[in-house]
Symmetry: C2
Subunit: 282 residues, 2 copies
Amino acid sequence: METLSENRSFGGVQGVYRHRSRATGTDMTFAVFMPDLAAGERAPVLWYLSGLTCTHENAMTKAAAQHWCSEAGMAIVFPDTSPRGEGVADDKAYDLGQGAGFYVNATRDPWAPHFRMWDYVVDELPDLVTGAFAVAPDAMGITGHSMGGHGALTIAMTHPDRFRSVSAFAPIANPTESDWGQKQLGAYLGDDRAAWRAHDATILMTERGYPDEILIDQGSADQFLDKLRPESLAQAMMARRQPGQFRMQPGYDHSYFFVQTFMGDHVMWHAERLFRCLAGSS
Amino acid sequence: METLSENRSFGGVQGVYRHRSRATGTDMTFAVFMPDLAAGERAPVLWYLSGLTCTHENAMTKAAAQHWCSEAGMAIVFPDTSPRGEGVADDKAYDLGQGAGFYVNATRDPWAPHFRMWDYVVDELPDLVTGAFAVAPDAMGITGHSMGGHGALTIAMTHPDRFRSVSAFAPIANPTESDWGQKQLGAYLGDDRAAWRAHDATILMTERGYPDEILIDQGSADQFLDKLRPESLAQAMMARRQPGQFRMQPGYDHSYFFVQTFMGDHVMWHAERLFRCLAGSS
């Protein structure tokens, strides 16, 4: 693992790192904010999955999470959204290929060799980060924005023992019924829609739910509401009596101005739950 | 004045606007965050001047000021750092010409026709903003980063009746003795160093000071310390017994991670003073 940069931030360190990924077969870049800790202390860690076109950098610079994570004493990790570089398949469209990994393991060419973001985010990067930083593997939460909200919800509902708290900002909530989903799941997983079901938050909510409360924020002026389909997920949550909150925030759009506005709520939501895990395990 | 974008942010609106400037003879873009106000209410307003290579956008997206301004009930304005566009002189170097106006009125060609950022920031844009937005012209403060810290300090010390509070992040503190200053002041104002003195915070501090407290933050790991020369300004402040604080923040560098970390302190510093102005004038 190579350190690309480290900047002091809110009494902690905002770092950017690169490593060779087994899952994707490429170099991958990610960012970690570590609050200052006492000797021997391990921080809970929040995983933030970004949306279409993003790298590790967007949320690191625009989500204003460091202030809240510093206050809470929690680490936050910003992974990239796909493998990148020469020899990695891509597409001219902004919403397929590099920058648009959709947090799945692709099974179809040309994507199958490198587009394994599910394994990368669920297994490989947590193993690396919990080994290299003073974070607690048994106190991990997950959140994300848009495509990243989709990733956070689907991963958390599939691995609730690994990700002990979950929230999302304007998630792609029902991709099997959306232009943000059908195209990508078809390309990465093939035409058999049975394989798509594991990657649709609305379907997973109907079939499994999540064993703790979920927090979701959505802006009412979001320019992509027709693609996100929050109404499908909200319906599934309420039908299941899923504990949690689905908040429609009046006037907010899909931008990082929206994410930044509610980042404090989300960080504190996760911190409250993850510090409980830490306390329970010690 | 034309609206380029408006995004809901922290219960207020983050807008970007364009107008034809008399001062620069060009179109100029600027950003304003307006907190929600009661009917008839006018907010104090903080001017944030950005550094070399920046536009209105850097601090708007990376300084995390909106949260604090919303909490304080204060507006913040992010002007551009120079005139831009075809027909506007420029230089290959990042630190001269477009993106590097240095907050002076140029008197030398090729800069004189458009590079009038002093007049633009001191007079024209405040007149426009106080007319178009619900902000209080008698409760304006000013701050900035690097070249913008230089602008904030020199403008505030020259117009203390107009800018009733002042602070700076890692300001260029003594440009007449620095590579960040001699080159630019020579190009914009000519070789006669007498004309430079009005644009050096250390000289103005020695000659005039400021009638209220000043807050300055500087990172100890700033990669540009030799160009910023904080020791000159600190010496002048202490020699004059200037009320205020010059804080050396251990481990912080010149980046927006530094600015964001201390933005809350600065916003609250200005709010405390500007709300006192509002109360005094009502």
